[in-house]
Amino acid sequence: MSDLLSSDDVSALLITLKLAGISTLILLLLGTPLAWWMARTRFRFKAVIEALVALPLVLPPTVLGFYLLVVMGPHGWIGGALQALGAPSLAFTFSGLVVGSVIYSLPFVVQPLQTAFSSIGERTLEAASTLRASPMDRFWSVVVPHARGGFITAITLGFAHTLGEFGVVLMIGGNIPGETQVLSIAIYDHVESLQYGQAHILSGGLLVFSFVLLFLVYRSNRSAALLQRRERS
């Protein structure tokens, strides 16, 4: 029953990696300034923003996907606006998947970063300012090394979650092979159609691949952490 991977499976794999990669990148680009702002601001209504960021989490992914679909559809305000601008619709396209994944995974990226950012000592940042570092420079040279652990967490949670992401993607993607069918859906389809052999192969491969990736990430982080914490003895 378990033949080799079908070409659909292979393209699902590629699409998944592309989706996870692009989404993680966008999540970092969006999440980093957002987390920084939330860690530093004294804005009165910060808690509102924080709660909003975490909110997509509480809806079942399929339901979130459903609402996104409604919003992105030709009668929804995003879809309608895009249509009015002559831009292509987001629903059932790879771009739509990216948008959905980003919304759904945002809290996994923002929250660890925010935690890491708020533990940075004011003094260290001030020291960097007196040493001619611009805010951007300070961010790269002081904040990023300090928040290394937070970034690792953000990236692994964000990436892994997009790999396993399913409900949102299924809903707004439409499961179109070679376009919006990602690995998680392919596995799901195999399980649904009782092709357990292929499901096992795909799941196993995904697990091994992810394990190796995660292991490498954690190991590299570990050696850095060790060096830092050898304080005494």
Binding site: E126, A128, L131, R132, P145, R148, L227, E231, R232
Partner: protein, 358 residues
């Protein structure tokens, strides 16, 4: 370079820094005051690290801060070197990368500090590959000094930089700072609560008390005043600028000349005629009506009593005039009585200890 003028109003909880003043933009200005008096706060205002309610700061003709006109030059554009009281090293960077942080960010043409020289002076060679966590307290402080120096500052702000250092290290670093500001004309603002350090390094002295400036002026003037709290310190005493007159090879002594006479001190390795600063503790000066004979005291100088101030019960601070040069002597009232001292008395100042400061 012209002056540094400032005015800062900075409320911090129940404390308020409320200062207003100026000091020369050359030499070393020491901020002196007790713990919690506002030294660090003032230094931070100078560095642009605080946002005071009301601020005005002009350094060498440039306005760095003026809240009334909404003007503010951020710290990173001030070309300062700041040594934090707590060190504030970058914990994730090795010592060498801490040192090079500002250096690499300084345009090559503006670099005035020499890496090897600074490392050598501060004895950091063997520490370069360590992380800050692996350093002793004093070692951290030396790295922090090095990092500030290597930022090629046009103004050096140092918050108790030598507090964790032993005398030997101080003896190496202080002269370097003195040379630094003499050769490169970098003004230094230096916070300390150590009287020795103050006298050693200061050209200008700013006394701070409860967030306010109590008095400010050139070191010699400030030290010769008998009305300031510092004159009550056991280490109170005058500072005298003199010139090298001659050397005595056999006994390894140097004779100095100043307006009030001559001083014999242990050998100072300087050319004849060069300028030199010496410090004479009030407690090292005793008074006599006639010059002592067969005593080990080398320096006995004619003087006139200019001012006397009672300091605590039974003790007296006497301001002497040695042909225009002020000198302080701390004596007991018993001695005053025995010698019959009063303002205008002519007598001899017996100087037991002379500390050469350069």
């Amino acid at each position: 370079m012209s002056d540094i003028q400032f005015r800062f109003k900075l409320p911090l909880g129940r404390f308020e820094l409320d200062t207003d003043g100026q000091f020369p933009a050359e030499g070393v200005t020491v901020l002196f005051g007790r713990s919690g008096s506002g030294k660090t706060s003032l230094l931070r205002c100078l560095a642009g690290l605080e946002q005071p309610r009301d601020a005005y700061l002009k350094v060498g003709g440039e306005i760095w801060h003026d809240t009334s006109r909404g003007l503010y030059v951020p710290s990173r554009q001030r070309a300062i070197g700041y040594v934090f009281q707590e060190g504030a090293l970058f914990p994730q960077r090795r010592v060498i990368n801490n040192l090079l942080y500002g250096y690499q960010r300084t345009p090559v043409a503006e670099r005035t500090a020499d890496f090897d020289q600074v490392v050598q002076l501060l004895g950091l060679q063997s520490l370069l590959q360590r992380f800050p966590m692996q350093l002793s307290g004093g070692e951290k402080q030396r790295v922090a000094i090095g990092r500030a120096l290597l930022n090629s500052p046009r103004l050096l702000l140092m918050d108790e930089p030598l507090a964790a250092l032993d005398r030997d290290h101080k003896k190496e670093i202080l002269p370097f700072l003195e040379r630094l500001h003499r050769h490169t004309h970098i003004p230094i603002v230096y916070v300390t609560h150590n009287f020795d350090e103050l006298v050693r390094i200061a050209d200008h002295l700013v006394l701070i008390e409860e967030g306010r400036i109590l008095a400010s002026g050139p070191l010699e003037e400030m030290l010769a005043r008998v009305d300031l709290p510092i004159s009550r310190d056991v280490d109170a005493g005058a500072v005298i600028d003199a010139q090298v007159l001659s050397h005595d090879e056999e006994f390894h002594l140097t004779r100095l000349k100043f307006a009030g006479g001559e001083l014999l001190v242990t050998w100072v390795d300087r050319e004849l005629g060069s300028d030199i600063r010496v410090r004479i503790h009030a407690k090292d000066v005793s008074l006599a009506l006639e010059p002592a004979v067969s005593s080990s005291i080398l320096n006995i100088l004619p003087a006139r009593v200019e001012e006397m101030q009672v300091h605590g019960r039974g003790r007296l601070l006497v301001k002497l005039d040695l042909n225009g040069v002020p000198l302080l002597a701390r004596i007991t009232r018993h001695s005053q009585h025995r010698l019959g001292l009063e303002v205008g008395s002519k007598l001899y100042a017996q100087v037991k200890g002379v500390a050469v400061l350069v």
